[in-house]
């Protein structure tokens, strides 16, 4: 069975658990969690991830900054990144896509939409 490493970067433990809970429904999914961008970079240096789900508004390092670092790093540049945000504003979405996000999901996150986006980006067929 194929294994997929997903990194969930979210400062809210509730949202982090909810996203992880949703991702666990994908067969072979292994979830790592980080509370902010700094923690995420540390995890990225330790494990090879198939996908990153990152919130935009986080302390220490927000999701957009994390995204720009990921895209500039040749070791991680190819990792698909989904950005999530409470803000419904298009500005976040646009900024995210400009920085190289693969998908944008507004909160409250719909599990079906999250799973659909993940499966498309990682090319998982179930």
């Amino acid at each position: 069975m194929a294994e997929y490493n997903f990194l969930v970067v979210e400062d809210s433990p509730t949202m982090r658990q909810l996203i992880s809970f949703s991702l666990k429904r994908i067969r072979g999914a292994k979830i790592s969690e980080a509370g902010n961008g700094v923690e995420a970079l540390k995890k990225l240096s330790e494990t090879k991830f198939h996908l990153v789900v990152a919130d935009i508004n986080m302390p220490l390092m927000d999701g957009l900054k994390l995204l720009s670092i990921i895209r500039k790093d040749p070791n991680h540049a190819q990792i698909p990144v989904i950005i999530v945000s409470t803000e419904g504003a298009d500005a976040d979405k646009e900024k995210g896509f400009q920085l190289g996000a693969n998908a944008y999901l507004p909160k409250p996150i719909q599990t079906n939409e999250l799973l659909k986006a993940v499966k498309e980006l990682v090319k998982i067929e179930e």
Partner: protein, 279 residues
């Protein structure tokens, strides 16, 4: 030189010739009769052959017709079964979507209740409750109000999108919020999309935080996030109903815990004082 034939000879020859001719005639007559008989027989046989052929063809066609009828019936039966299977398929697909939705809803409810009961710190409980309302319900303006049983007033203890300190206290029975605290019944604005509050404290949704029949506060939601499309789904109502119970228990437990912690610390202080440790 040949001797000339006598008339008697000639007569004899003539008779012989006539006999031969007669026999020939008789034979011809017989042949004609036979020919007629054979022609009749041929016609008869042809007629019989035609009848036989006709009969054979007829039964073959009817057999084919029967087979065709059966095939048609089988085709009809298969088409009906196909329609049934298609309908079943659609039904299964609908059920699958429903189960998926239910699964997602249960996951949301599980995470919400798990998080609410993950701490006994009052402020942490309020923070988690705020997170749930923002991230799961999708509200950007709401207040959590706790009932003071002495003054019979609801006071805001946490808020999002509004200044908590500026939120006025609400008497039980006063306005929509006060009425929810009085009756213990949730309030849902019927026209979420066209909701225009007449007053700042008019909520879109107001749910009582209650443990059994005891009201300990309310959660008043004043607006929803843009992406919620200004409508509430079934899971929102389920979440509200879950929040009414779990948030109340979590708030109540954490308050009780902090009170008991304070009391414990006071008692410990006394014990220390009495045992001379505090000196």
């Amino acid at each position: 030189m040949e001797k000339p034939e006598s008339s008697a000879d000639l007569f004899k020859k003539t008779r012989e010739f006539l006999d031969i001719f007669r026999k020939g005639e008789e034979f011809t007559q017989e042949l004609l009769k036979e020919n007629e008989r054979l022609r009749y027989k041929t016609v008869q046989l042809e007629e019989e052959t035609r009848t036989i052929k006709k009969g054979t063809e007829g039964s073959h066609i009817s057999e084919l017709r029967e087979a065709l009828k059966q095939v048609e019936q089988e085709k009809e039966a298969l088409l009906n079964r196909f329609k049934e299977v298609e309908a079943e398929n659609k039904d299964f697909a609908t059920k699958y979507i429903e189960v998926e939705e239910e699964n997602n809803n249960l996951a949301n409810l599980y995470v919400a209740s798990y998080q609410l009961h993950s701490t006994l710190d009052f402020n942490e409980v309020l923070r988690i409750l705020q997170e749930i309302v923002i991230n799961l319900v999708g509200s950007d303006r709401f207040a959590i109000m706790v009932l003071d049983e002495v003054t019979n007033e609801l006071t805001s203890v946490a808020a999002e999108g509004m200044d908590e300190k500026r939120i006025k206290k609400v008497k039980v029975g006063e306005g929509v919020i006060g009425d929810v605290a009085r009756t213990g019944e949730s309030y849902f604005e019927p026209d979420v999309e066209g909701f225009k509050p007449a007053h700042e404290m008019d909520p879109l949704v107001c749910i009582p935080l209650k443990i059994k029949d005891r009201i300990i506060g309310v959660l008043a939601i004043f607006s929803l996030l843009e992406q919620k499309s200004k409508k509430l789904s079934r899971v929102d109502y389920e979440l509200f109903s879950m929040l009414a119970g779990h948030a109340a228990t979590a708030i109540f437990s954490s308050k009780l815990y902090s009170v008991s912690e304070r009391k414990l610390s006071t008692i410990q202080g006394f014990i220390d004082l009495l045992s001379g440790k505090g000196l």
